[in-house]
Structures are given as structure tokens and as C-alpha cells.
Amino acid sequence: MAKGVRPRVKVPKSASAGDVITIKCLISHKMESGQRKDKDGNKIPRSIINNFTCTFNGETVIDVKMEPAISTNPYFEFDAKVPESGEFKFVWNDDDGSVYEETKAIEAA
């Protein structure tokens, strides 16, 4: 498990049913690209988050395949439909097999 990985997600607490909201998410992660060399000249192996998914009540909002060119502390902003109250689930998959998750509930009037 990569150390100190921390997600930070912005989802409004409430919306009107049928609204489209903007979601912003950050996660602290080095995203070691595999291009850098250590002081002995050896390549530091790649170790990145390779996938990010956001679902709402189990249905996909967005699924992102991530490559080493995504910056350290990956950031995504995207829009989601809110037809009803429910829960957004955010999942990040690490090369090393770790899975990081965050959930945010939303009330739809």
C-alpha cells in the first residue's frame, strides 16, 4: 500500500432531482512514472494509480484509465447527473494492488 494516500473529494450536499453537478477530486499519490533515475543511475520502477472510477448508486459516471503522464496528486473534474438521492463512490486502483475509496452522499429534493 503506498504510504499516506489521501483522497479529497468535493460533492455538493444537496441538489434538485435531475440536476447536473460538478465533482472535483484529488488524491495524494506520488505517481512514480518509471522515468526517473535514483542517484546510482538506476530507473525507479513505475508505481502509479492506473485507474479511477466514479459511480452513483452503482452506475458508472466516469471511468478513467490513467498513465504515468498524469501529474503527482492526480486531479479530476467532471459532471454527474443526480436523478435521485444516493451515494457517489470513488475508487482508485494502484499498480501495487491497493484500492483507495471514498464515498459521498447527496440529497436530491
Binding site: 479529497r8 472535483k24 484529488l26 503527482t72
Partner: protein, 283 residues
């Protein structure tokens, strides 16, 4: 010798000719609510300098970089404030306390960042925020000090800076700190290194100009700790001083040492009036 150095500087500094040359006129409003003072009048102690107006480093960055600081969910520095919050609540040391045990909520730190570095009467010395944090840890918590320019220190400084967001920097320059302040001022104006540059050569005489492809700022520290796009992490004041001194190809002072502490006090006073930005975003 001096002639060569001057030519080197002349070759590096190019007068504004690029689109993003001059500092801009944008207003910084964070989260659509907190309006920040990013430009203000020069404090009295600088009235005889070449600086016409104080400007936050924010004004010297591209529109895209500026945008990153306007919303706390766009600002990558904020993940480290969250980290700082977790540290705040962690019990450490022989006394079995966390920061929260005595200080309760981080909001109790409101106003703190705005007045550091400052005189500590009991200790009889000028202290930076980092020194005070470590003093609290070692003396009150019985815990290990944070590495002076390390990640944990930066996280904690960011958490504390956030509490003063918007408040004007207001460090004392007289009274018990006067000697240290004078020492810092002298350091600021002393040329050092192979390139024989002083802080003032760039940050007072040439702010607004380009140095190669970099837009020179006034070297303000009201936005520290700052998230730099270059290393994608929070940077502390002394870490940046060390980098700057190295860039002049000089032997650097030690982070946490008396020279950088004096310099930090002086540089902070050059920003008196500018808002504390919480963790800022710079290149």
C-alpha cells in the same frame, strides 16, 4: 570579476516582451467568498526602496496557475492541510497528548501565522512558526521534533496558515526583534555566490521582468507553505531560501538556523499588509 557577473545577469534577465510579462490585475477570491489582499501599499520601513507596491507572488503566475488557488478543491495544497489535520489529532510523545489535547480545534490558531516570526519572551529569542511547533512538540508533548523542512512540518504549517487566511501579515520589526530584523535586512541586500546576486537584485530591482522563462516575483512569503507545480508538493520558507541561495551558486545557510530565521523575519516584514493565503500554489 564583477564585470563578468554583471554580464551573466544581463544575459539572463530579459526585459518584458512576452505575453505574460507584467504582473496582472486579477483579484483573488477563494471559494467565491474570501477576498484576499494581494496588492497593497509599501510598509514604512521600505519607503526608500525600489518597490512601488507590494504584490503577492500570485500575480506573477499564469492564469491557469492562478486558477488552481481559487477553490479549495482545485488547490492541491489542501490535501496536505487534511494531512496536517490528521497529525493535529494524533497522540504522540511521552505526555500522551495530541495538538488537539491542549489546543482543541485548529481554529484556535487563528491569527498565529500572520505574526510569525516573532519574539518569544520566555525563550528570549526570535522564533519562526516551525521553531514554535517543534518547541511545543519537544517541551510540551515530549515528542520528537518534525524535520524542519520536512513534509510533516509543511502539513502542520499549512493547517495553521489556513486559519489566518485573508488576515494581513503583521510581523514586528522593532522592540526585542530589532537586531535580528537588521541582520535579516543586511542578508537580503548582500551579494553572494559565484553569480554575486543578493535577494534584492532580483526581487527588488527586477520583479516583473523575466529571468529566462521565469516571471520574477517580489519574493514574498505570505503564501507559504506553498504547493509548487515543479515538485508537486508543499514547500516551506527555509527550503525555498536554500534553493534560492543555491541558485546563486553560493554556500547555503542551514534551514532552521539563525541566518535564515533573521532573513525570514525581514522577508516577512516586506509583506506586511498582504493577506496570508493559506497554502498557495506557485510554479
Amino acid at each position: 570579476m564583477k564585470f563578468k557577473a554583471l554580464t551573466a545577469i544581463a544575459a539572463l534577465i530579459v526585459a518584458p516582451g512576452l505575453a505574460m510579462a507584467d504582473p496582472d490585475d486579477d483579484t483573488m477570491i477563494i471559494n467565491g467568498e474570501v477576498e484576499m489582499i494581494t496588492k497593497t501599499a509599501v510598509p514604512e520601513h521600505m519607503s526608500d526602496t525600489a518597490v512601488s507596491e507590494l504584490m503577492s507572488g500570485w500575480h506573477f503566475r499564469s492564469d491557469e496557475t492562478q486558477a488552481l488557488q481559487m477553490d479549495d478543491f482545485d488547490n492541491p495544497g489542501m490535501i496536505f492541510v487534511d494531512e496536517g489535520m490528521a497529525q493535529w489529532e494524533t497522540v504522540e510523545g511521552t505526555e500522551g497528548n495530541s495538538c488537539a489535547s491542549c489546543h482543541e480545534d485548529p481554529s484556535s490558531m487563528k491569527g498565529v501565522r500572520a505574526v510569525y516570526p516573532k519574539w518569544n519572551e520566555d525563550a528570549g529569542e526570535v522564533r519562526t512558526l516551525a521553531m514554535q511547533i517543534n518547541a511545543c512538540r519537544t517541551e510540551n508533548m515530549g515528542a520528537e521534533p518534525y524535520k524542519y523542512t520536512g513534509g510533516e512540518m509543511a502539513n502542520m504549517e499549512a493547517l495553521i496558515a489556513l486559519q489566518s487566511r485573508g488576515m494581513p501579515i503583521n510581523v514586528a520589526t522593532d522592540g526585542p526583534v530589532a537586531d535580528v530584523w537588521e541582520q535579516g535586512k543586511e542578508l537580503y541586500y548582500t551579494r553572494t555566490g559565484q553569480l554575486e546576486l543578493s535577494c534584492a537584485n532580483c526581487h527588488e530591482d527586477n520583479y516583473g521582468n523575466m529571468i529566462r522563462a521565469d516571471h520574477l516575483s517580489q519574493g514574498q512569503i505570505n503564501g507559504f507553505p506553498t504547493y509548487r507545480l515543479k515538485n508537486a508538493k508543499l514547500n516551506t520558507v527555509h527550503a525555498r531560501f536554500k534553493g534560492c541561495v543555491r541558485d546563486t551558486r553560493a554556500e547555503t545557510f542551514k534551514p532552521g538556523g539563525p541566518e535564515f530565521t533573521a532573513l525570514e523575519l525581514y522577508v516577512a516584514s516586506r509583506g506586511n499588509g498582504l493577506s496570508v493565503e493559506g497554502p498557495s500554489v506557485r510554479n
